[in-house]
Amino acid sequence: MATKVVMEALSPTMEEGRLVRWLKPEGASVANGETLAEVETDKAIMELVARGDGVLRRQLVAEGATAPVGTLLGVIAAANEDIAALVGGATPVSASAAPTAQSPAPAVAPAPAAVAPVSTPATVAPVTTTAPEHETAASDGGRVRSSPLARRLAAERGLDLHAIAGSGPNGRVVKRDLDATAAPAAAAVTSVPVAAAVPVRAGTEYTDIALTQIRRTIARRLAESIGPVPTFYLTAELDVERVSEMRKAMAELGDDYKVSVNDIVLKATATALAQHPEVNAHWLGDRIRQFARVHLGVAVAIDEGLITPVVFDADTKRLRDIAREVRELATRAKARRLKAEEYTGSTFSVSNLGMFGIDQFTAIINPPEAGILAIGAIEAKPVVVGESVVVRRRMRVTMSCDHRVIDGATGAKFLATLRRLIENPLLLVY
C-alpha cells in the first residue's frame, strides 16, 4: 500500500518548512522510520522520516522549496504500484515557488505512466530556480551577497551569512547587519536566531525582566569573553545519606512506584527551582524571562546522541508521577518516538551521568535556558561529621550557569536550597 510523504509539523509552531535536501533519491528502497529528507523548520533543520516501507517513487517538491505543513512531498509505494491517484492531485513545488502559495504554473502533473523505479528527476516537472525578485533575497543557496568586511566578521563570530538578512544594495549583507545580529538589544528579538524565545507551553506563566544597563553590559562583555553563552560552573557535594535511606525504605515497602534516586533529585531540583525563578529563566537577548512554572528537561542518552524530554510542572507533580513520566519518556526517546512538544519548552535541564560512574562533570547549557544541573555518581566516602570521621554517601552536582542571567551568588543560593532539600528529603512531601 502506498504511503504519502507529507510536510510534517516538526515543531509545535511550524507552519511551513523548507525542503533542504532529499536524502533518498527517487527509486530508492526505504523502510519505515528511515530518514528521507532534511527539512528546515522555523527553528532548526530536522529530519523527515518515512512512515511506511517501499520505494520512494516520487519526489514532488524540489530541494530548496518551501511548502506548508500537510503538503504532499512524495510517495512511497511498491515498485510497480499505480500511484497516479495519489500524485495526480499534487502540484509539484519548485524552489522558485512563493513560500506559502503553491505555484500554479506547472499545473500538469507528471505522467503517472512512469512505473519503473528508475530515477529520472526530469520527470518531476521542470524545476526553475529563478532568483526571487524582492530585495532581501541575498542568497541563491550558495553565494551570499556580502561585503568583504561582513564576511570577515561573520567568520570570526561564527555567523552564517545565509541566515542574515542583508540591508545593503540588493540585499547585500553589510557590517551593520552583523552588528544587529550580534547585539540584538535594539532590534526586534524575533529576528535573532540565537536569542529567539522558545514557544511557551500554554498556560505557563512567566515574567519578562527588562534588562538594566548594567545587566546589558555584563551580558555583552561576558559573551565577548567566552563563546555565545558565557558559562561558569558551581559544584557542590551533597550528602545523600537520607535519600539513600528513603530509597531503601521504599524498596523494602514493596517498591510499588519504582521511584529512583534520580527521580528524587529531579523532584528536589524542581522544588528548588520553584523557589528560585531567577534560575528558572531564559536569556532572550534583550530581556530575561523568569518562569513561574517549572518544566524540567531531563537529558536522556540515545543511540544517535542525546535528547531532553520535558517533565512539565515537575515541581507540582508527585514523586511517583515524575518517576513514571521519566521512565516512559526515556523509553520513547530511545525508540525515537518523542513528539516535538515533548522535548521542547523546558525552563531548566538536568543531566545525570551518575549511572556511568562519573563523579562530577559539567553539562552544556541548552539555550535559551540559563542553567543546567549535572549530577554525578553517589559514592560512599569518609567525611567529617562533628568531631568524627564517618562514612557517608555523597553526590556531586555541578550547575552550569549562563552568567548573563545568573550571577555566582544567585546560583549558590539555589544550590543551597537544593542541598537543604536533598539532605532533608522529607521536605519534599510538603
Partner: protein
C-alpha cells in the same frame, strides 16, 4: 494656478538634482529660483572658486617652468583676468543646468517662493500647486562675524561673494576662518601676490581634518609665506575707508581687505515656515527626520538648509533620495558617515571617515598606515612631492575607518578609498587591486600595506 507634482524652492545643487531625478521618474516639476540655476555652488562657490584655484595652481607651476626647459618672458600675475575667466566658467555651468532643465522639461519659475500651504507656493502674485510634495532647497549664505566686529560692508570687509569678483588682488589681506574656504582663498591670493594672513580661533587650520594633515598644510603655507595664526583672537577692529586694523592676540595689524570665511546661515526667512509649522533646529537649520521630511508632512528639505555638512555633493545626493521617495521608491538612505571632504588649495586636502583624533577619543583599536608622496615616482616626475596618504584601519578586521590625503590631486585620489569604504572593502582588498605604475594612486595601496606593516616603497 500652475500645477506640478513637485515644487522645489531653490535651483542649487540639491534642488536642481532633485528636479532632474523627479523628472526622470515621470513627475512634473517646477523649480523656483530667483538668481541663476546652479545656486551658490555654480555661481558663488565651488565652480568659480575652483577656476581661480586652477589659475593659482598654474601661477605656481609656471614659476617652475624653467626647470622643465620652458622659457617664459617676464611673469605677470593679474587677478582680474583670472576672475573674469572664473565668471565665464560659472556662467557656462549655469547654462548647462538650464539646458538640463529644458531636456527634462523642468519649469524654472523665476522669483522667490513662499509656502502658503503644504501644497501651494506663492511666487509674486502667482500660486503654484504641488500635488505630491514641496522640497525646500534654499541653501545658505555667508553671515559674517558681527560679534567680532566684522560686519560685512562689501568694500573692506568682504565675504567670498565679493572676493570672487574683485578686479585685482589686494596687497594685503587677512582671512578670518581657516576652514576649506579660508584655506582656498589664502592659496589663491598668495599665488597672485597678496600678503595673506590666515586666522582661526581653532587650534589648527582645517580644524575638522586630521591633525597631521592640518600640520602638513600649515608647514606648506608657511613655506609660501602665508602668515598662519591659530588659537587666535581678534580684537579692536577698526574699519577705515580703505583698510581694516585690528589686533591678533593683542598685536596690532592693518590690512587692505578682510575676507570673512567663517559662518554661514541657512536661508529660512520669508518662506512662510512659521505659519505652516515648518520648524527649525536650535542651529537655525530646517528640522528634518531620517526621510528628510520637515515637521510638515509632504514638505521636504535638502541641502545646506537641512543642516551640515554644507557640501554640494551631500545636497545632490539628498536631492536624489528625496526625489525617489516622492516617486514611491525606497531609496538607500544617504550615508552621512562616508561623505568626502575636499579642500582645493595647494597641496589639496581630502578625507573620508574618522580622523585619528576621533578614533582616539572613541577608544577604537586602530592602526595607521602612511605613505609620503616624496617616495612616489609619479609625484617626483610632477615635482609635487608634498603631502602623504594616511589610512586608518580597525586593528582586528582591517575595516577602513578613515582616510586622509594631502597632496597634489588629493581630491581626486580620495574616491578610491571612499568606494572601498562604502563597500566595506578592507585595506587588504584595496591592496589586492593591482595599482598602475607610476601613479599617485599607488600611494593609497602603499598606505594600506603600511597599515598592515608590509609597505614596499617606504
Amino acid at each position: 494656478m500652475a500645477s506640478y507634482d513637485v515644487v522645489i524652492l531653490g535651483g542649487g545643487p540639491a534642488g536642481y538634482v532633485c528636479a532632474i531625478r523627479c523628472a526622470q521618474l515621470g513627475l512634473s516639476v517646477g523649480v523656483i529660483e530667483r538668481e541663476g540655476l546652479g545656486g551658490t555652488c555654480v555661481l558663488w562657490g565651488c565652480i568659480p572658486a575652483k577656476s581661480l584655484l586652477e589659475s593659482a595652481y598654474l601661477a605656481s607651476r609656471v614659476r617652475h617652468a624653467a626647470e622643465h626647459g620652458i622659457t617664459t618672458g617676464e611673469l605677470g600675475f593679474d587677478y582680474g583676468p583670472a576672475m573674469k575667466r572664473s565668471r565665464a566658467v560659472s556662467a557656462q555651468n549655469s547654462k548647462g543646468v538650464e539646458f538640463l532643465f529644458k531636456k527634462n522639461k523642468i519649469t524654472w519659475i523665476k522669483g522667490t517662493g513662499t509656502l502658503t500651504s503644504p501644497k501651494t507656493v506663492k511666487v509674486g502674485d502667482e500660486t503654484h500647486e504641488a500635488k505630491k510634495a514641496v522640497v525646500i532647497a534654499t541653501g545658505s549664505r555667508v553671515r559674517g562675524l558681527p560679534r567680532a566686529g566684522l560686519d560685512l560692508n562689501k568694500t573692506t570687509v568682504l565675504s567670498s561673494d565679493e572676493v570672487l569678483i574683485l578686479d585685482k588682488a589686494p596687497k594685503t589681506m587677512a582671512i578670518v576662518g581657516a576652514g576649506a574656504v579660508g584655506c582656498e582663498f589664502a592659496d589663491v591670493f598668495n599665488a597672485f601676490g597678496t600678503q595673506v594672513t590666515l586666522i582661526d580661533i581653532a587650534p589648527s587650520i582645517l580644524p575638522l581634518e586630521d591633525g597631521e594633515v592640518a600640520a602638513e598644510l600649515t608647514r606648506s603655507f608657511k613655506k609660501r609665506k602665508i602668515d598662519v595664526h591659530t588659537n587666535a583672537k581678534i580684537g579692536d577692529v577698526k574699519i577705515e575707508k580703505d583698510s581694516v586694523s585690528f589686533t591678533i592676540d593683542k598685536k596690532p595689524m592693518t590690512v587692505d581687505r578682510v575676507l570673512v570665511a567663517a559662518g554661514r546661515a541657512a536661508n529660512v526667512e520669508g518662506l512662510g515656515f512659521e505659519a505652516l509649522g515648518v520648524r527649525l533646529d536650535d542651529r537655525g537649520f530646517v528640522k528634518v527626520d531620517e526621510k528628510l521630511q520637515t515637521t510638515v508632512p509632504g514638505v521636504y528639505a535638502i541641502g545646506d538648509v537641512a543642516g551640515p555638512p554644507m557640501l554640494a555633493h551631500k545636497g545632490q545626493r539628498e536631492g536624489v533620495v528625496v526625489a525617489e521617495r516622492i516617486a514611491g521608491q525606497n531609496p538607500h538612505p544617504v550615508n552621512y558617515g562616508n561623505i568626502p571632504n575636499a579642500t582645493y588649495c595647494h597641496p589639496e586636502v581630502a578625507s573620508i571617515g574618522m580622523t585619528e583624533e576621533v578614533c582616539k577619543a572613541q577608544q577604537i583599536d586602530y592602526r595607521v598606515g602612511k605613505f609620503p608622496f616624496s617616495a612616489s615616482g609619479r609625484a617626483r616626475t610632477a615635482g609635487e612631492t608634498e603631502g602623504f596618504v594616511k589610512v586608518i584601519r580597525e586593528a582586528k578586521y582591517g575595516e577602513i575607518l578613515g582616510a586622509h590625503i594631502i597632496g597634489s590631486h588629493a581630491t581626486e585620489l580620495i574616491h578610491e578609498l571612499g568606494v572601498a569604504r562604502e563597500n566595506e572593502f578592507t585595506v587588504e582588498e584595496v591592496d589586492l587591486f593591482v595599482h598602475a605604475h607610476p601613479t599617485l594612486a599607488e600611494a593609497i595601496a602603499e598606505a594600506c600595506l603600511d597599515s598592515l606593516g608590509r609597505g614596499i616603497h617606504a
